[in-house]
């Protein structure tokens, strides 16, 4: 479980986030949506320790090495092959090179990249690189997964396929997930709970919405659920109001 309480965080000057509190229970999938600049990514960075909060607390019921972070960009080491990139985390955690690379090949195969182990990142397509990045994180068998718009750069078909594979994995392994996304439909399709952040600076949690669509979920099928359009409209209205408040604020200045 993740519990963030009264988190305030900034990069000097006015804080981006002020007094943010949210909870993600074990085995649940939470999404965080909000306007650009509302500090969504900063919350994930604070949870992983990449960003030091000004105040507040972050409590996790799993050790840091059980937390996986899927970045917005694939950020693979360009001088390492796909196999070596996937094996990197395993080797950092003490596994022998040979065993780590065998395990890496297994993970590449699971993600549809059997035979691609010797390729360097620049020899892979955007979708393939993203799969390598997913394999790198999942190979460590995390219990808690943080995802920062991991599929934003992919085209719609590849994005839907990879997201469906990942959601299948999350459901099978009962992982706890916190996803940052701009895509309201993606947030509803994947999540058990959606948090909406207000416009920054001084962003806070504006609202929390439960999504009671049955699991296992089919990414496209969830859109036929009667809850889906109603929730989508509420989220849309809330984000539009935040965008309007920003416009009014700028005009007043």
């Amino acid at each position: 479980m993740l519990r963030v309480e009264d988190l305030t965080l900034g990069y000097g000057g006015e804080p981006i986030l002020k007094g943010v509190s949210l909870t993600v229970d074990s085995g649940r999938f939470a999404s965080l949506i909000g306007p650009s600049g509302s500090g969504k990514t900063s919350i994930l960075r604070a949870v992983t320790g990449l960003q030091k909060p000004d105040s507040g607390s972050i409590a996790l019921d799993v050790p840091q090495n059980a937390v996986g972070f899927l970045f917005q960009d694939d950020a693979l080491l360009p001088w390492r092959t796909a196999r070596q990139n996937v094996a990197l985390g395993l080797r950092i955690h003490g596994m022998a090179r040979k065993e780590a690379e065998t395990r890496a090949d297994d993970w590449l195969a699971k993600l549809g990249l059997a035979g691609f182990g010797d390729r360097f990142p620049r020899q892979l397509s955007g979708g393939q690189r993203k799969r390598v990045a997913i394999a790198q994180v999942l190979a460590l068998e995390p219990r808690f997964l943080l995802m920062d718009e991991p599929f934003a750069s992919l085209d719609a078909i590849v994005r839907t396929n990879i997201t469906q594979e990942l959601i299948g994995w999350v459901e099978r392994e009962n992982l706890t997930v916190l996803l940052v996304t701009h895509d309201l439909e993606e947030a509803i399709s994947l999540s058990d709970v959606v948090y909406v952040l207000s416009q920054g600076p001084n962003a806070r949690i504006r609202s929390r919405h439960e999504v009671n669509i049955a699991r296992p979920r089919d990414l496209l099928g969830t859109r036929d659920d009667p809850q889906f359009p109603a929730l989508l409209k509420r989220l849309w209205d809330e984000l539009s109001a935040e965008a309007y408040s920003e416009t009014v604020g700028e005009a007043a200045q």
Binding site: T48, L50, Q64, N65, V67, G68, F69, F71, D73, A75, L76, L77, P78, W79, R80, T81, L88, G89, I92, H93, F120, P121, R122, Q123, Q136, L140
Partner: protein, 253 residues
């Protein structure tokens, strides 16, 4: 074996051969004064004689020795100082202005000073080659480390990597790419240092021979030596390029 005439290297060789033939024809026709520009066949004859009577070998040994030792010492010193300055702000404070100054001036002006300090033997030539190479490599390493992709650092950190893993997996490969990218230029710099050092004051070396050829108005020997130096630098240049392509195959494959 068939040779394709429409490739760039073949076209270049053909044009060079045509120009040499025109030059040879003009010289034989008496249209060019051989005092200023001897025929290519005469220059070739000088080169053959230099090797045939063995006169060239001690000079080649001196120049190559100074250049190769200059590259070696310059690389090691540049890498150590670059790493040191990037990791220790105090060292950077001291070194950066010195290196910027050395980079801004034509460093060959130090040649007379090195002769005064180290004499006319190999030492002063090596010193000039080193000072030319070390500034280049220092900035390659220093900037290479400072401009390492932060996303890669964060990726390795979120996989659990500490300082040593970062150095091994991110900094060293990144800096290697920068250094190898500058190796070809370093080869040219090292030869410049060795030859200019010999030109200023020496008892052997290609620079010494050049100085002798100039003082005796021997255009044939001068052109022969220029061609020799260009050939050797091109050979080392090609070897550096092959080394770069081999070690940085992730960039070229």
């Amino acid at each position: 074996m068939t040779v394709r005439l429409n490739t760039a290297p073949v076209r270049r060789v053909l044009i060079l051969a045509i120009l040499i033939l025109i030059w040879e024809g003009c010289a034989r026709a008496g249209w060019i004064d051989p005092f200023y520009l001897p025929a290519p066949s005469a220059v070739a004859n000088v080169i053959v004689t230099l090797f045939a009577d063995g006169e060239i070998w001690p000079h080649l040994e001196a120049t190559f020795g100074a250049a190769v030792i200059g590259i070696g010492v310059g690389l090691v010193l540049g890498i150590v100082l670059g790493f040191g300055a990037a990791l220790l702000p105090l060292l950077a404070e001291l070194l950066e202005p010195v290196m910027i100054l050395l980079n801004a001036i034509p460093r060959v002006i130090l040649a007379p000073l090195f002769v005064i300090w180290l004499g006319i033997d190999l030492g002063s030539k090596i010193a000039l080659a080193v000072i030319l190479v070390v500034v280049l490599i220092f900035f390659a390493v220093y900037n290479g480390i400072k401009e390492v992709d932060q996303r890669l650092i964060e990726r390795v950190r979120t996989l659990g990597g500490g300082t040593w893993v970062l150095v091994r997996e991110v900094y060293v490969p990144s800096v290697t790419a920068w250094v190898l990218g500058n190796l070809k230029v370093a080869v040219g710099f090292a030869f410049t240092g060795a030859v200019v050092g010999e030109f200023v004051a020496s008892s052997r070396g290609l620079g010494y021979l050049l100085q002798f050829a100039q003082s005796t108005y021997n255009a044939g020997l001068t052109i022969a030596l220029i061609i020799l130096i260009m050939t050797f630098v091109m050979v080392l240049f090609t070897l550096s390029e092959r080394l770069e392509r081999r070690l940085l195959r992730w960039r070229y494959r």
